[in-house]
Amino acid sequence: MTNSSGYGLRELQKDVQAALTVSVISLPQSMAYALIAGVDPRFGLYTAIVFAAVASALGSSSHLVNGPTGAVSLVVFSALSFIDADARVDAYEAMFLLAIMVGVVQIAIGVLKLGGLTRYISESVITGFMVGAAVLTIIGQVGNALGLKNQGTGHQHVFYRLWLTLTQSAPLNFKAIAISAASIALSMAARRAVRRYRLPQLDTFIVLLLVTVLAYFLGWSRPDATGQTAVGLNEAVPQNLPGFHIAVIQWKWLAPLSSSAVAIAFLGLLEALAIAKAIASETRQRLDVNQQCLAEGLGNLAGGFFRCMPGSGSLTRSAINYQSGATSKVSGVLAAGFVALLVLAFAPLTHYIPRAGLAGLLIVAASRLIDLDRLRYVARAGVYDAVLLGATAFSALAIGVEFAILIGVAVSLLLYAPRAAKLRVSELVVSNERIVRNRVSSDPKCTALTIYDLEGDLFFGAAPALEKCLDEAATRAREGSTGHLVLRVKRLRNPDAVCLEKLEHFLKESHRQGLVVFLAGVRADLEAAIGRLRFAQWFSHDRVFVETDDADSATLKAVRAAYQHLGKDNRCEHCNGGRVADPGASQAAYYLV
């Protein structure tokens, strides 16, 4: 860790600078993510204060900035959909409970040291999820961008809600459309300017400031005689800090919230760990994955008692934190403190932010989540990842964002299992130069000795493949008059009962048919297994060649033993013609694959 030794004034100065930048960006983002979750914007700000401070202070990563995030907020929105749309207070209390439940799951993952398991979730699943989440975010903001009241309830499908919103009888609000269009255009221009002139990354903040000021001076955000404003405004944020509050809940909420809590817990960890790992790989920080899980969990749990939404690591804010020169966790904690100060100073002003302006920013931010380069890369890499990505994105849109990652993981397992169940089999041959190598079709047929090399995992799923391979080898060996078979089992791993039984059955059957089988390169686990199963009672130990460390390969020993066993009976043209088999020469065969 860079901060443990010699944290001085210089480092503090850098951290303060980064924290200021991050907090200014946090303000609009947090309110926008609350908008995605369909809750009061102040809860987004509270999350950027309490959750962010706790998770940053306890976390392992030096640069990860925590707070509300788009993906988590999407799941929060659908998690709260079971509560009646009019019961806003109930929905808020349920959200605080949800944050606590997410925290409990994440802490459990951290304590049980299961954080490492997240690496089994394929990158393609995450990419697919991001695509689905981005599309959902954009769809969800169409109503706000057009100045229409969002229609439908969370129970209804997102596309149906969009249809209801677009087909309602209310006219389009062209002032709102102007604001959202302006904020989209300005964001894109501002990002370009920031890139080109290497400016501080305050583009979202400045764009939001611009459209808010613009709307105010056009009189669109000032109430008319009837108290209405021309465009919908952000809900007022009270000018105070989040207070301690124990959620007032109904116990029947626990069941509908639990699956979402697990989904958010995993999603949040994946998001946070992916960002933390990406930055850590550049800073060469050693990341403690389980500590990070605990920190996220404690942050969510504590946040649930201070009116916070569930949150995670933010990609944009973490990147800006890093690029702004943050040196340690201090910047993350300071950023949370600065957000608190900003809320105290400017909370009433946030009421003048037009909702269409936030919607425009969200649409831009969401479309940036769709990383076209990465999609192209995945599509070119192979069908497997493309299917995985497509299935995850599709299930996010069609089934539900909270199930998308679980479905993605299930699909990846489904796709992986058949591949794992495959055994690679190749026939080897002893060449005229006494080299054991892969047989090519031009090699003459050897009627004396057949050598098969097997590779793969010997778990129950592979049993049919194993049976097929063995049958093929036996058939091939019986074609020769003398029927000698060497099975190279060096690269068979983790034999289980089903496969061992298949092997035993094969060996006994071969013996009955007069086939002489040698097992070459038997590894320790297989040796132990056949020992326990007492193969020795019916299978000569002379035909088992255990894999050893010495230079002389077990396979070569087996081949020599097979030729010795063949002895004078070997009338194979290939063997005798090429002087392949010479029982007299002890160092007769070389080995090469």
């Binding site: 409970l97 951290g110 959620a247 809940i249």
Partner: protein, 367 residues
């Protein structure tokens, strides 16, 4: 030790070792996390704890039925538990019948069922909309599980020779009976006395004169039946206790020969009635239990118990089985002196009714 046991023991040892390893590798932040989960669970649990909803029923009844419902409740609870597996907790409340009805109307008592002295007391609940109009059609026998009447209790040997209604207003006789404004017993005493005059050829004016004299002979008017009974039997006040027949039977039985029961030649048939309180059972989700409870009162088991407690069961067979404890008396129905119980309530006990013309409140002056 068999192999299986050996494996079981090995597995247990293995599990314990794994657990021990997990505990050893706990770091301070892990401990903080576990503690945080515990604190959060307790905080949420304590903030939102509600005592488990138990099966609970409140029976608001009139005054002398304490022993009756104590026994009936125990029998019913046992039977209900055997049938449904859930043990209901039944609470009972007693007092002057009209006063009990008023307190249910006022919401002071959240009665699930009412078992009151007069059908008109339940009528008062109907007028306020807390009991359904057709309450008397929902149970057998117009929702009257038992009847009773008014009897006299006198001292041993009947020293004042009191045999019938006219004897009570002889000079020097002190009558003990409850207040008709609050008590079912008090009301029925009035109706029985009135009937005893008019049904023997007297006019309304004769009957009112009799009632005026009757209340003049009352030393005091207690609000409810049981306290009145105690005044007569325990405190030995007055010469005659004009009481519920069931209360008279209980009093005499407990007096070890000190008291005697005297049946007047003529008395009124009282129709105590029962109903579940619709407004409250829907609130408490106890409709099923309340209905089962009241239906139980009409079963043979309950009817026998009712008879044994001195109430006249409406089940004829049960009444026959306990015939000997009920003295013969000429019972007249309310319809002989009024159109109905509601009409009687209106005419006798309403504003400027018969009672208002003959009685003035006479609360007991405690020394």
């Amino acid at each position: 030790m068999s192999t299986r046991n050996l494996h079981g023991a090995e597995a247990r040892v293995g599990a314990r070792l794994r657990f021990a390893r997990l505990v050893r590798t706990l770091r301070p932040l892990d401990v903080v996390g576990i503690a945080a989960i515990a604190v959060a669970t307790i905080a949420i649990g304590a903030r939102n704890y509600e005592p488990p909803a138990e099966l609970h029923l409140l029976n608001v009844s009139y005054d002398p039925t304490r022993e009756l419902y104590r026994d009936l409740n125990a029998r019913f609870a046992k039977q209900y538990q055997a049938r449904t597996g859930r043990l209901p907790r039944i609470e009972q409340s007693h007092g002057g019948s009209s006063r009990q009805a008023r307190s249910v109307i006022a919401g002071e008592q959240a009665a699930d069922v009412v078992t009151l002295a007069l059908p008109s007391d339940i009528g008062a609940l109907v007028k306020r909309g807390v009991v359904a109009d057709a309450w008397w059609k929902r149970l057998p026998n117009s929702a009257r599980p038992y009847t009773s009447t008014i009897a006299f209790v006198v001292r041993r040997g009947n020293p004042r020779g009191l045999r019938d209604w006219p004897d009570l207003i002889r000079p020097g006789i002190e009558i003990i009976t409850p207040d008709p404004k609050t008590s079912g017993n008090g009301k029925l005493s009035v109706l029985a006395a009135y009937g005893a005059v008019v049904l023997r050829g007297g006019t309304d004016a004769d009957a009112r004169a009799y009632l005026k004299s009757f209340f003049d002979h009352a030393a005091f008017l207690d609000p409810a039946a049981r306290s009145t009974a105690n005044a007569f039997a325990v405190e030995r006040l007055g010469d005659v206790h004009v009481a519920w027949e069931n209360e008279a039977l209980r009093e005499v039985a407990e007096s070890k020969g000190e008291l005697e029961i005297v049946m007047p030649a003529m008395s009124i048939q009282a129709d105590p009635s029962v109903a579940w309180v619709d407004a409250n059972v829907s609130l408490h989700h106890t409709e099923e239990l309340a209905r089962a409870y009241l239906e139980f009162l009409f079963t043979d088991e309950a009817q026998d118990l009712i008879a044994a407690m001195g109430y006249r069961p409406t089940n004829v067979a049960a009444l026959e089985r306990h015939r000997e404890q009920f003295r013969p008396v000429e019972l007249f129905f309310i319809e002989r002196i009024a159109a109905s119980w509601e009409d009687a309530e209106q005419r006798f006990f309403g504003e400027n009714g018969v009672v208002d013309s003959v009685y003035h409140p006479k609360p007991r002056q405690l020394p």
